[in-house]
């Protein structure tokens, strides 16, 4: 086993454990903090995949914005935290069954695929992933249209969120 594999296994175990705590902890503030741990684990996985820019965006956007937004939302709806009612609904066992079946089905499907256990080729020397990504996002031959659509989507979501959460006097 190489050092990289050991790091991956530790990070993956930590990520999955925090993910389980996100869906099982009773206190929603704790669940949101476990989500931060999960997102950080995923950022380390991105770094292991040589996608440094994506790892940084994961930390800035997910942990810096989305997880903090979750903590704010939990605190603004805090009254429901104090109840001692069950946190899982009555049909939780069927949800668990669907989740396990999805995992088993995905692994079964992937095992039949020929590229399942292939290893990564070395990154060519002098290859700059960040500048390539910038080119791809802004060149008309690349992905400028999805990029612009994503910006319009963010604008629409911002206007919608402000409108929905606005208090009328």
């Amino acid at each position: 086993m190489t050092a990289e594999q050991i790091i991956f296994l530790i990070v993956a175990a930590a990520t999955l454990f925090s993910g389980l705590m996100v869906v099982t902890s009773r206190n929603l503030v704790h669940a949101a903090l476990w989500l931060v741990a999960t997102l950080f684990g995923v950022a380390v996985v991105f770094a292991l995949l040589n996608a440094g820019f994506i790892a940084v965006v994961q930390v800035v956007v997910y942990i810096g914005a989305i997880a903090i937004l979750f903590i704010f939302a939990v605190m603004l709806t805090r009254k429901d935290l104090r109840d001692h009612a069950p946190q899982l609904n009555k049909g939780w066992w069927s949800g668990a069954f669907v989740a396990v079946a999805t995992f088993a089905g995905l692994v079964f499907l992937l095992q039949g695929w020929s590229g399942f256990s292939k290893t990564a080729a070395d990154i060519p020397s002098g290859f700059d992933a960040v500048s390539q990504l910038g080119d791809a996002l802004t060149s008309p031959a690349g992905y400028v249209l999805p990029f612009e659509v994503a910006s319009v989507l963010l604008l629409a979501a911002m206007v919608g969120a402000v409108y929905v959460a606005f208090t009328r006097k």
Binding site: T2, E4, F8, A12, L16, G19, L20, V22, V23, L28, A31, L35, T38, L39, V42, V45, F46, L48, L49, A51, I54, V57, Y62, A65, I66, L69, F70, F72, A73, T77, D80, Q87, G91, G95, V98, A99, T102, F103, L106, L110, F116, S117, K118, A120, A121, F127, A129, Q132, L133, D135, A136, P146, A150, L154, A156, A157, M158, G160, A161, V164
Partner: protein
């Protein structure tokens, strides 16, 4: 080197955990937390396929960036809806939001 299968199995497990959270939690904010886990699992897959496929084709990373944008939009609107519902109905339990149930 780490084989591709490890990343795919990690992503499948994280997706399943998120799916369980989205299906089984009663609190609407917790359901959104489960959806975030699922979106992250998809991102692991996208970036892993970029790394193990043709590195010079940036489609995997571009799609991962767009998933980030969609996740941010989804969380902003979703949490605004939850807070708006909480103000009007004084609950965030998904079972009790049965206004549209016949």
């Amino acid at each position: 080197m780490i084989p591709l299968s490890w990343y795919l199995i990690l992503a499948a497990a994280l997706f399943s955990i998120g799916l369980f959270g989205a299906l089984s939690r009663r609190n609407a904010v917790a359901i959104l937390l489960g959806i975030e886990l699922m979106l992250n699992a998809v991102n692991i897959n996208l970036v892993a396929f970029w790394r193990y496929g043709d590195v010079t084709a940036m489609a995997g990373q571009v799609f991962a960036i767009i998933v980030f944008a969609v996740a941010a939009a989804e969380v902003a609107v979703g949490l605004a809806l939850v807070i708006s519902v909480y103000r009007r109905r004084n609950t965030v339990i998904a079972d009790e939001l049965d206004l549209l149930k016949w």
